[in-house]
């Protein structure tokens, strides 16, 4: 397969010409996300009374981009992702999705464009894998009274089954999600997001519980989704190497703000990593891709 940036650009350009925005501007000049001075805070027990999860973020995401979001624990990555998926409301600032203010787009319309893979999901009731993946078809159904109890049609099932094959959970289709292992459950959540047939995929640590072969499978699947199908991907990962190897661009967050942004070369640098994480690591190059690669030192040193 001839994957690569060239192929992706062609597909992405082709898609853009087919889509126009509300105000009639052509897609090509229009980023899929425009984020302006976005802030989110929680009430907290400190002098300000507020804990800023996300502070004054501004950036654009182009259509068809694969963006890796990295940063230490508690740097606001997950909050940012939830804001982009309209799961949380921002305190201040705006997010525009294809030129439209996200706050004014109905929830089910957002979910037809943007799908989210959460880190974990509640599993109180014994839904099967197939039932869970089919829930991803929810936004594609209307909201008339009949849609409240109608069953999914064959087309929905086609899409769900395809998503399940892509994430290798098709053989688990009748098992209860609550009984699966962490990795299987994670693949099931990815399948649910794919079943939404989105144009933007937001992933929160999608490979955290996966074994080696499935990590490779899912990473390849994600790369394929952007390269061949023009999907826009935003991926949070603690694994700097995973994000660094696959992403076109990286956002490095620290304490809710954007610390660095750019290509892997721009962001994965010893000085930046030291400033953000406060520890020293080895940065060399991946033998195959030539991109920067982070290795933990043989012993851990902390600055005094």
């Amino acid at each position: 397969m001839n994957d690569g940036p060239h192929n992706r650009d062609v597909v992405a350009a082709d898609r853009r010409s087919l889509l126009a925005t509300d105000d009639g501007r052509p897609m090509s000049s229009m980023p899929i996300y425009e984020v302006r001075s976005l802030s989110l805070s929680y009430p907290a027990n400190n002098p300000d009374g507020l804990l800023w999860a996300v502070r004054e973020l501004s950036f654009d995401i182009q259509s068809g981009e694969f963006v890796g979001i990295v940063g230490p624990n508690g740097s606001g990555k997950t909050s940012l992702l939830k804001l982009l998926g309209k799961v949380l409301r921002p305190k201040t600032g705006t997010i525009r999705l294809r030129g439209r203010d996200l706050a004014t787009i109905p929830q089910n319309e957002v979910a037809r464009t943007v799908a989210m893979v959460p880190q974990e999901s509640l599993q109180v009731f014994p839904f099967t894998v197939l039932e869970t993946v089919l829930m991803g078809r929810h936004p594609h159904h209307g909201s008339t009274w009949r849609d409240g109890f109608s069953w999914e049609n064959e087309e929905d099932l086609d899409i769900a089954m395809e998503a399940m094959e892509a994430t290798d959970v098709a053989h688990l289709s009748d098992r209860a999600v609550a009984d699966l292992s962490g990795g299987e459950r994670q693949r099931c959540l990815i399948a649910r997001a794919l079943a939404q047939a989105p144009q933007v995929l937001l992933l929160d640590e999608p490979t955290a519980f996966l074994d080696l072969p499935h990590q490779i499978d899912i990473s390849a699947l994600l790369r394929r989704l952007t390269d061949r199908q023009g999907l826009t991907l935003l991926l949070i990962s603690h694994d700097l190497n995973l994000a660094g190897q696959y992403a076109d661009r990286m956002l490095m967050m620290k304490e809710g703000a954007l610390f660095a942004a750019g290509t892997t070369e721009d962001v994965i640098r010893p000085d930046i990593l030291k400033a953000v994480y406060g520890c020293e690591v080895l940065v060399d190059r991946h033998p195959e891709s030539g991109r920067p690669r982070v290795t933990l030192p043989a012993w851990t040193r902390r600055p005094t």
């Binding site: 109905p106 999901s121 039932e131 409240g148």
Partner: protein, 400 residues
Amino acid sequence: MQTDGMMQRPSIHQNMQNMQNMTQDMAEQEQDSRPHSERANRPAPRIMDRSRRIARSRSTKAFRVLGSLAAGLILLMILCLQLGTEYIGLQRMVDLILRALRQGDWGRESIGTTGMILFHVRLPRILLSVIVGASLASVGVVLQALLRNPLADPYVVGVSSGASLGAALAILFGIGTSFLALTALPLCAFAGGLLSLVLVYRLGATQGRLSIHSLLLAGVILNAIFSALIMFSTLLMDPNRSFGLMAWLMGTLTLQVSPGLTVLLVYILVGLALLLTQLRSLNLMTLGEESARACGVDTERVKKRLFVTAALVTGAVVSVSGMIGFVGMVVPHAVRLLFGADHRLLFPASALVGGMALLLADTAARTLLAPTEIPVGIVTALAGGPLFLYLLLWRKDRLA
């Protein structure tokens, strides 16, 4: 084709036609204009075959389950019609029906005392117990999904006692027994039920999931507060009325006023019909509010609808039958084990099984110590309470 800046997905039939008509080249161009999962690679015939099979098997399963449950309910109703202080056989029942039909008269002259017992005492009561049981089980399903907790039930959570307080206050302030009063009583109970439902939800369900302990604790405390207020209100009533109120609180299906049944039916049917339109969203609500929103559910709107309709149905039920516990917890639990968690099947199946369960309990209540009647709330508490304890003690791993 465009709607709201989003592309319309061609139907699968169009796709198949396209496949036949187009050359490979054209088909590939066509593919690029479609959202990804179809454009990626057209589903293999193998997948399309399986989808068709599964789609069919899902709807036939629902059909078969609901059909047999409905048949079971009708059979059980016929069986329970025969039982009572006097046994009335099937043959006699058919005779009485035929006689009444022939004479066009359902009064004492044509069908006699036996007929009066059958059609004017037992039948309304059986219908009432089925309606009440179905409503309680349905509300149980909704509360369990909303609170993300398989042990929730209008009684345990304190919604029933909130509704009882509303009704008790209405009676205290002399609402009377006019038709207007019968219409307003369920609304007072509805207000009380809604208040406690919102309180319970506020106590923790917004932060992901209400743990089983805080849920039960919230229920215990709400129940204690509301019971105290109800007791206090009985002190202020004249003794005759307060005795009736106490009997009603224990849960009873003795129908005092028959126009009540019609009023009740309207409230309940409207409430259940509204709940029926939210079943798909209910599935998603069980995953937590954030996941539901990510899958396109307008959670605030859905939550409001569910609160209001659940409280409406509970209010209507409580204002007629008092506090009947555990039906709303045990029935959905059992149905879920048998037929799965999908609310599009769980909800109607629970309603049917709930009708059967309360019908059985009420038949036991009126026949076991005949001619003395046991309040049906006592029967359901004695049958459901131990089951609740069992689930709490031995299946904790699945609940907490």
